[in-house]
């Protein structure tokens, strides 16, 4: 952590690369995961690795981290060929990885977490906590984040937990940092903060591999961008000479419409009417208070809000998983406040849950069973109490075809599919029937561009077929792109309802963050329809 801090010149091409991967090839049975991939990263460079799910990014990083042995190719660190035997070897050589899912122990303090596996010892028995604290404080100051080494990690926000992960890497004297989708769990503000940290690291001469599929972020932070598709490098770009459309096309291999044309909507009569709804969470706190809104047939109503402002409870109530504490839910004029999941399903309410592994799928079951998870008991999939496997299979084959689920067979376990295909499976099940109300909770979280485009298109199609759509998403862009009207939820209350075509990103972002208390006194334009 002392000698490497020297080279800071930005002209990356002249300096010998800090890390070079040459001709990396990795075959798995039936798959060529990496096909002669070349990647070189200069000291003090942020290098973005861009690619769809399954493109081979993870395999390449596993090779770098010693988790997979390449069939061909070399890895060079500072021009020296190295053979990386495993993660501990990689760490010893100054390569660290910050995983998308943090590897932290919530009940331990920041210092204890950082020390895990890299213990600074005062003597063979006891830790040198004082020295460790001193080094952590020093590192924190140097990279612009003051962190209390004695705070329990479980009490930190996600953004700060990520900083602890980065500190962990720095404490181990990492020179090459791999960040796997670091912004996936962060709010826009936290993302800005972490970018500031990354820039400091870069200025100190660290090399950063930044894995993401959020194009605008990559364009903002990266010095160079390498795009991978189907195991091959398909292009290298400088952010100044490319744009989102170009990158998306490289990633997917065809022209992609990043913003699906939502077209004209033709809202008809009210389908869903929520009246003075209040809902308690598991701890008995009222997380939704006096909520009132309507969703019409043929319209997408987006709910924007920072995660944890009552969206989960609202969605659960609308789908029968949670009983409201007060108020009414009306569907086509019928009071359905106290109906359960099955009754609502039979009334034509479909639900794409945010957590597809926990709620949406049974990962160990084959696709066939998952495609009838909500309809298994009804004709034609069952006659009385007896399942009709032939009918289930017919439906599965049809749905897989219609919704373009990529799978070797309808009989493989759902858990073997990629995230995008798993979500398509759920969409196939939930969209593929007559609907009155479609509830989408974070429908594209963690998906690649191609899958996002597909799901957005299908949503518009459903809307145009006269379905009322309620879209809940923490991705502000998604809400802005798809919604005909946008409701902003803040601390369990709807603080504004805006026209989806007129609403501006900053305005909605501000409402999400403050609830409108600090909003300008006169709303700009005619965007603000009404304030609940």
């Amino acid at each position: 952590m002392t000698a490497e801090a020297a080279p800071t010149a930005p002209s990356a091409a002249v300096i010998a690369p800090a890390l070079e991967m040459r001709g990396i090839t990795k075959r798995y049975p039936g798959v060529l995961a990496n096909d002669h991939i070349d990647l070189s990263i200069a000291p003090g460079e942020i290098h973005a690795l861009l690619g769809e799910n399954g493109a081979g990014k993870t395999t390449l990083m596993n090779v770098l981290y010693g988790l997979a042995t390449p069939d061909e190719g070399q890895i060079l660190l500072d021009g020296q060929e190295v053979r990386i035997a495993g993660p501990s070897d990689a760490i010893a050589r100054g390569i660290s990885m910050v995983h998308q899912h943090f590897m932290l122990v919530p009940v331990l303090t920041v210092a204890e977490n950082i020390l895990l596996g890299a213990e600074t010892m005062a003597n063979p028995i006891f830790l040198d906590r004082a020295e460790a604290r001193r080094r952590i404080l020093e590192l924190g100051q140097r990279f612009g984040f003051d962190i209390d080494p004695d705070e329990k990690v479980g009490r930190l926000s996600v953004g700060w937990q990520q900083r602890v992960e980065i500190l962990k890497a720095l404490y181990r004297q990492a020179r090459v940092l791999v960040l796997d989708e670091p912004t996936a769990v962060l709010t826009p503000q936290e993302t800005t903060d972490i970018f500031a940290v990354l820039r400091r690291l870069k200025d100190e001469g660290h090399s950063i591999i930044f894995i993401s599929h959020k194009l605008y972020e990559v364009l903002e932070i990266a010095d160079r961008i390498t795009v991978i598709r189907r195991g091959r490098v398909v292009g290298e770009r400088l952010p100044s000479r490319t744009d989102e459309d170009d990158l998306a096309e490289l990633m997917v291999g065809r022209e992609v419409q990043l913003t699906v044309d939502r077209g004209e909507s033709h809202p008809a009569e009210v389908a869903l009417s929520v009246e003075h709804l209040s809902i308690k969470n598991d701890r008995g706190r009222e997380t939704v208070q006096d909520l009132t809104f309507e969703v019409r047939k043929g319209e997408i109503f987006g709910i924007a809000g920072v995660a944890g402002n009552g969206q989960d409870e609202l969605v659960e109530s609308l789908t029968g998983l949670r009983r409201p504490a007060g108020g009414r839910i009306m569907l086509d004029g019928v009071d359905v406040t106290h109906e359960g999941t099955r009754e609502l399903h039979e009334r034509g309410v479909s639900y794409v849950p945010a957590d597809r592994h926990r709620f949406g799928l049974v990962l160990s079951f084959p696709l066939t069973d998952n495609l009838v998870l909500t309809d298994y008991y009804a004709a034609p999939y069952a006659r009385g109490p007896i399942r009709d496997d032939a009918a289930i299979r017919v439906r599965a084959v049809e749905a897989i075809e219609q919704f373009d689920v990529r799978t070797p067979s309808p009989d493989v376990a759902a858990g073997t599919l990629s995230g995008g295909n798993q979500q398509k499976l759920i969409v196939a099940r939930e969209f593929g029937r007559e609907l009155r109300l479609l509830v989408l909770d974070q429908p594209t979280r963690g998906l690649d561009v191609g899958s996002v485009e597909f799901i957005h298109r299908q949503t518009i199609k459903k809307r145009d077929a006269g379905t009322a759509v309620l879209l809940v998403s923490a991705e502000l862009d998604e809400v802005l792109e798809l919604s005909d009207r946008i409701g902003v939820i803040y601390r369990g209350r709807l603080v504004a309802v805006l026209d989806g075509r007129m609403a501006e990103r900053e305005q909605v972002g501000l409402l999400m963050a403050t609830g409108g208390r600090e909003a300008p006194p006169t709303p700009s334009g005619g965007a603000r329809e009404g304030v609940a």
Partner: protein, 377 residues
């Protein structure tokens, strides 16, 4: 399909092979006690004697089927619960409840016509077993009490309940020790009767019928699909509009019913009465059976037959090899050890996780801690 079945067989087969090897080491190390000196061939003699005593004679086969009957029935009970995400350690209690019910009803009906007496006694035992399974199921579904804890407690209660009933209200008059009355006409008819006391009662077909029904329910009916869904992912079950609480109660009741049937077949088919100090390990042996059978009804039948054969061959083993019958318990324990720590078996035989069905792996290993919990709505 073939690859899938083969994948399912690899781990159990590996566990058996490793258990036989560990058993061989133990047999050699203890061989001075049997033969007066170290005898490296003793394991072969021992295993050959077990095979001879269980499979290579009509008497052996009869004994195998009779010993396998309760193992398979309770194994199905444990396996059915695994499918629902529940760990039923209450096989012993459910078995004892059924057994004492069969002894009581059988004793009362000992003079009734056999075609009426036996079925009534069996059905009564099944009903009581089901009630005894319903209790932990209800506690789990509606209070969240963990079934591992409650079923173990209910085992102790059942043991004491049996002792009380047989020493008290059910004690047969004129016997020298505490036992229930002879079941007489309520006995399950003997279908094969060989010389030397080797008898097979009609109850040896129960496990096969039960396995077929359980398989059909699990894989061909909607209720079976619901049970498997609750076991694999209770949240997804709730999302899909299923009722996990009801399914948990149902699964535990069916498990109790099977345990009750096993108890009835032992009392009405083998012993003919019940002593106060009736002791059985069947609830725990059944866990081995269920895991060895990969929680599949067909697998459980084979696993039960295997363990039944080991028990049937134990006598001849002791006579021919001089190895005490307790060696069977050792082998069974080692098998269970390797099944629980299947990673060892996978390493030794280089079995990849993908070779086995994803479903079986997740539901079996997921339930040691009792995965199925129902959050309050």
């Amino acid at each position: 399909m073939v690859a899938r079945v083969r994948g399912q067989l690899m781990v159990p087969a590996g566990a058996i092979v490793l258990a036989l090897l560990v058993g061989a080491v133990i047999i050699i190390l203890t061989s001075p006690l049997a033969t007066g000196g170290f005898d490296p061939t003793l394991p072969l003699v021992t295993y050959w004697a077990i095979i001879q005593g269980s499979l290579l004679s009509v008497n052996g086969l009869i004994d195998t089927l009779v010993s396998a009957t309760p193992l398979i029935l309770v194994g199905l009970s444990v396996g059915f619960c695994f499918k629902a995400g529940l760990f039923n350690i209450g096989g012993q209690g459910q078995f004892l409840t059924g057994a004492v019910t069969a002894a009581a009803v059988g004793g009362v009906l000992s003079g009734a016509p056999p075609f009426i007496a036996a079925p009534i006694a069996i059905l009564a035992a099944m009903a009581m077993g089901a009630v005894y399974g319903l209790i932990p199921g209800f506690l789990k579904a509606f209070t969240g009490a963990h079934e591992v804890v409650t079923t173990i407690m209910l085992n102790y209660i059942a043991i004491q309940l049996v002792a009380f009933l047989i020493q008290g209200p059910l004690r047969a008059e004129g016997s020298s020790f505490a036992r229930s009355a002879d079941v007489g006409n309520s006995a399950i008819p003997v279908i094969i009767n060989m010389a030397g006391g080797h008898q097979a009662h009609l109850g040896i077909i129960f496990p096969f019928i039960a396995a077929a029904i359980i398989w059909w329910v699990l894989y061909r009916t909607t209720i079976g699909f619901e049970i498997r869904t609750v076991g694999a992912n209770p949240d997804a079950a709730r999302y899909a509009g299923m009722r996990p609480r009801l399914l948990i109660v149902l699964a535990m009741s069916v498990a109790g019913l099977l345990g009750g049937l096993a108890g009835a077949s032992e009392i009405l088919g083998v012993s003919g009465y019940m002593p106060a100090a009736y002791s059985t390990n069947v609830g725990f042996d059944a866990i081995t059976v269920a895991l060895l059978g990969r929680v599949h009804p067909l697998g459980i039948v084979f696993a039960g037959l295997l363990l039944g054969a080991m028990r049937a061959g134990a006598g001849l083993m002791q006579i021919q090899a001089g190895v005490p019958v307790q060696m069977i318990d050792v082998l069974q324990g080692v098998i269970l050890f390797f099944l629980a720590a299947d990673i060892v078996v996978r390493r030794v035989f280089r079995i990849h996780a993908a070779a086995g069905g994803v479903e079986e792996l997740s539901t079996v290993t997921g339930t040691y801690g009792g995965k199925t919990t129902v959050s309050q709505p």
